[in-house]
Amino acid sequence: MGAYIVSGAVVKVDRHFERGYRDLAYDVVKECPDCLDVDYVVISSALPELTAHQVDLSTHIAQWLGRRVPVVRVESGETSGLAAVDLAASLVSSGRNRRVLVLGLEKVTDYPTYVTNYFYSLILDYEFEVLRSVSPPAYAALVMKELMRGGVKRECFSSWAVKMHENATSIPHAMLRFKISYDSFKDSQVLAEPLTLHDSFALGDGAAALVVSSSPNTNASSVEIVFSATEVGLPAYLRENISDLTASVKLLKLSLERYGLDLKKVITELHDSYTPYPIAILRSLGYLDGGCDLNEFEYLNTSGGLKARGHPIGATGVYQAYEVFKLLTDRLGSKTASTDYGLVHSMSGPDNVSRVLILKR
């Protein structure tokens, strides 16, 4: 049996001071009436124990929404959202469920930034990385430096940031809907040299909902999940080259080859927590070797990516899948697309784990 995305909704990624986990869940399903006509709910969330003192979040969300339907929470750091979509596809493909709601939820703006930064850093190995003062931006900076030694110019990373902000201007649910200049990194706060805030994702609260069904909609407004795969990478410090994001590259290569796709033509959402990561991936896939012209790619991170749409950690994968779904079936903000396939890529930390999803209209 197949698996189809048939419906969905998102709330704006933002600092929703007045909204907690349950409020965000309520807000997003309110926008999506048939999101509650399901027989299973998979909630993806990475940080509720740390940011909201809540274990068993999924049960408490179901109780808050007044639902008795089976519910569970899935977590895998920054890839939690795509992990949930993957499980939902199996839940309906198994014939055991008809319609599954995937609900990505994250609340991250309740604490001073350094506290949230610390919670986020725990996606790395606590005992062997975090205790040794290694944080996600430190790895991103090391990847950036290695790429720069390999000939990538500083401006290339900036052009990613500029492009993402530009894309986000037409996306209503994006967190940062303004343009930035190529040299804004010069005045930007340094996180870990040479990586600046300009190279980093926007951290915001978020909620995204998708309905995965065992059958397509009768009209054209659904997409099929034709491929969903996961690969665990080596710890970054064990790699021959720290900028080789081998798990992501392997999955993306496999995806493009198997479906005869060209990244320049296909709708793609890449995980761009820090600008060096998508640049490293594109180069490993054989793109950008002559320079850094992102305009070669027709539908690359139309949403603005983690950089500008924003990154509500455990919900991000659901946003990405929603965005590709909308582009394939209708429109995303003011953007439309004329292609049959869409690709979603998610990873946690510096490629500790990667997941890829292919959607077909």
Binding site: Y114, Y118, F128, L131, R132, A141, L142, A192, E193, L238
Partner: protein, 135 residues
Amino acid sequence: MKLSPSQFWRIRESQYRLIITECGSCGRKSVFKRSVCPFCGSSNVKHVESEGFGKVLDVTKVMYRWNSSDERPPLLVGVVELDEGVRVVGEIVGVGDNEEVKEGTRVEAVLRRYASDDPYGVIYYGIKFKPIKTA
């Protein structure tokens, strides 16, 4: 977040010393005391201790505050390749104002403070790296 002394105690050998795991199956080496080779999944491993010398493969100066420890930015974090051919990640300390740490800088392992809960809490120590003066 409170630290857990027992959690730290369990990994003490990998934190106080530079243990290397050598795989009898694929022949590759990895840092830390491991039950399984991270490259091939084999349990056929033995452990040796590094001499504690190596060179910086790459380093970054972390300028932002990302936790509540008393250690404030800036701090240097890098990947070090030990002379045994094994890579490890960690902090680089003891760098003078006029010194520069970069790719190739020779370093040695030293025991330094990692973290502590509060003024009266347990202090955790572990391996960091210090440039070797060549003057």
